[in-house]
Amino acid sequence: MSSSPSLELSGINKIYKMGQIDLQVLFDVNLHIYPGDFVSIIGPSGSGKTTLLNILACLDRPTSGVYNFFGEDVSSKTNDQMSEIRNLRIGFIFQSFNLIPRHTALENVIMPLHYSDRHKNSNFKKMGLEALDLVGLSDRIGHYPNELSGGQQQRVAIARALVTNPEIILADEPTGNLDSKTSDDIMSLLKNLNSDGKTVITITHDNEIASQAAEIIKIKDGRVL
């Protein structure tokens, strides 16, 4: 590809200090993800894929190595600047949906907007409705998470991920809690988003899910294979 990478990991190591013992979970990881990519990171549990996702998501910092996020070195960012990146440029989708139970679907969707200075004067409701429309849940805006099926909850989560119109969608086992029919729906939704220009990164241990991505990155024992 001709364009420069959106996300670029070079020589990333991650070491957790567990008392006296240093536990290294990532070894010299190099990774380039370009705009519009659909990447699956696959590996067994304990392979370090969650740690890699946390670093990609600007939730965690590497012990050594350089992570360039759209050309900017993330290691120099403060926690609040990292929060801003996550807020505006990354949409999160989780295995367990992670909606806030006492808020309606619409309220959950617009939550990231409250934390954004850029959207201070935006019409939250309108943006939220548009995002819910994209995932086909316009008729469920007033429902609470416990009134929605798993697939519907995941759609709300996807709408929340989309509401600030980020370039990157990070999905951590997005279909792990769903039956196969619903899984297919969610995966095709992600594919649609990708074809609309979003960079989608999923993490999974399921080969079948991974195979739906354009590119598969295998990780084992903290090393990218």
Binding site: L59, D80, R86, N98, M111, H114, Y115, F124, T164
Partner: protein
């Protein structure tokens, strides 16, 4: 209009507080009790203050006492100073700020009427005595300036002595013997009853001071123990005292601090009593404030519980972009709202209870706007102060760990 950011946080706080009504109520109980008691105590002590103030005014807040005594260094003992003369008293009487002046002469002598014989306190004064001390006659008349001028053998009985010597009989026009000399009773005074110290204020016989001095073979001026005066108004009291002091210093050629007279008024007493009520109010309010602090600790405790319970939620919020200040603000809004709600309930309860208490104890309870404002700011402040630690604790959570918390 409230900015959207603050509004959404307040709505959020309200949702969380309503979700757990019992817990919210129990937590704010400390604040409710604290604010209620502070409001009641301020209201009742304010009421007491206004009652004491009016009572003190009727007790002679305008009265000035001039004595021919010198206060010694420590102020505890006194020594005889210089006697007043008629010229000085006339000069003082002519002051605009002084409306009444009554010299007082005192003694105790045997008084008898028919078979009743008793040693009685005798007070010699003039017609102004009634106006200064607010004495009224139940029957007969009072001493006139002519009686004083002539040294007439007349007397006015305090209510106790009217009863003692005459019982149900009308004493007016009767003659009683004072130190053996017959005096005509011209009036009987309205009873004033006992002092708070238990002294009978009505147990005396009043004579023109010139008559009393003649009876005891004493010179008029040197027997004066006090000159009672009344200022035109309580506002002019200080000025009157200043003018009297000035006249006496000038006629007596006194420079500096060696006054051979002393001048005093009840104003100091008034101030002291009002000061005492102020101290009492501060003391009581401080005690009530302790419950506010206890209430604040209760809020801190429940906010810490809330942070623990909502760890996952905080993790989600940080992951999707909440900055630490967003989390701090969210939790501070919640603790402030919790405390403020308690404060509002406390103000309402305090108002109601102090009105009820006021009808029971019989003096006004004054809930001032200031005390209500202070209560609001105080309760809001307590919520914020005791919410700071839990809020910062929440904002420092690691989102990776927090989001996995179930």
């Amino acid at each position: 209009m409230i900015p959207k950011y603050i509004l959404s946080n307040l709505v959020e706080a309200r949702i969380n507080l309503f979700r757990n009504k019992t817990r919210t109520l129990l937590t704010s109980l400390g604040i409710i009790i604290g604010i209620t008691s502070v409001i009641i105590l301020i209201a009742i002590t304010n009421g007491a203050k206004s009652v004491i103030e009016t009572q003190l005014t009727s007790l002679g807040a305008k009265t000035i006492m001039l004595k021919p005594f010198v206060r010694t260094g420590s102020g505890f003992s006194t020594a005889r100073g210089q006697d007043f003369n008629e010229k000085e008293l006339n000069l003082i009487k002519s002051l605009d700020s002084v409306s009444y002046l009554a010299p007082i002469v005192k003694d105790s002598k045997t008084v008898n009427y028919r078979s009743v014989s008793q040693i009685v306190a005798l007070v010699g004064s003039n017609s102004d005595f009634a106006d200064i001390n607010d004495w009224r006659n139940t029957s007969g008349s009072f001493i006139t300036p002519e009686d004083v001028q002539d040294g007439s053998k007349v007397c006015v009985l305090g209510a106790t002595n009217s009863k003692r010597f005459f019982g149900a009989e009308n004493p007016i026009g009767k003659r009683i013997r004072i130190n053996g000399i017959p005096h005509e009773v011209i009036g009987v005074l309205e009873p004033k009853g006992l002092t708070p110290g238990g002294r009978d204020q009505d147990d005396f016989i009043l004579l023109p001071y010139s008559s009393l001095n003649r009876l005891l073979f004493r010179p008029d001026m040197s027997s004066i123990v006090t000159v009672l005066m009344a200022a035109k108004s309580s506002d002019e009291l200080e000025y009157a005292k200043f003018s009297i002091k000035k006249i006496l210093r000038e006629t007596r050629n006194i420079n500096g601090n060696n006054d051979n007279f002393s001048i005093s008024s009840y104003e100091n007493v008034t101030k002291k009593i009002l000061n005492t009520t102020k101290i009492l109010r501060i003391l009581l309010t401080s005690i009530a404030s302790i419950s506010l602090i206890v209430g604040g600790i209760g809020i801190m405790n429940i906010m810490l519980v809330s942070v623990t319970e909502r760890t996952k939620e905080i993790g989600i919020r940080i992951t999707i972009g909440a900055k630490s200040r967003d989390i701090v603000f969210q939790f501070l809004c919640e603790s402030a709202l919790l405390s403020l709600t308690g404060g509002i309930v406390g103000v309402i309860l305090g108002f109601i209870i102090s009105q009820i208490a006021s009808t029971i104890i019989g003096w006004p309870a004054v809930v001032s706007a200031t005390s209500v404002l202070i209560a609001f700011f105080f309760s809001g402040g307590i919520g914020i102060f005791f919410g700071i630690y839990p809020a910062f604790k929440a904002s420092k959570l690691d989102p990776i760990k927090a989001i996995r918390n179930e």
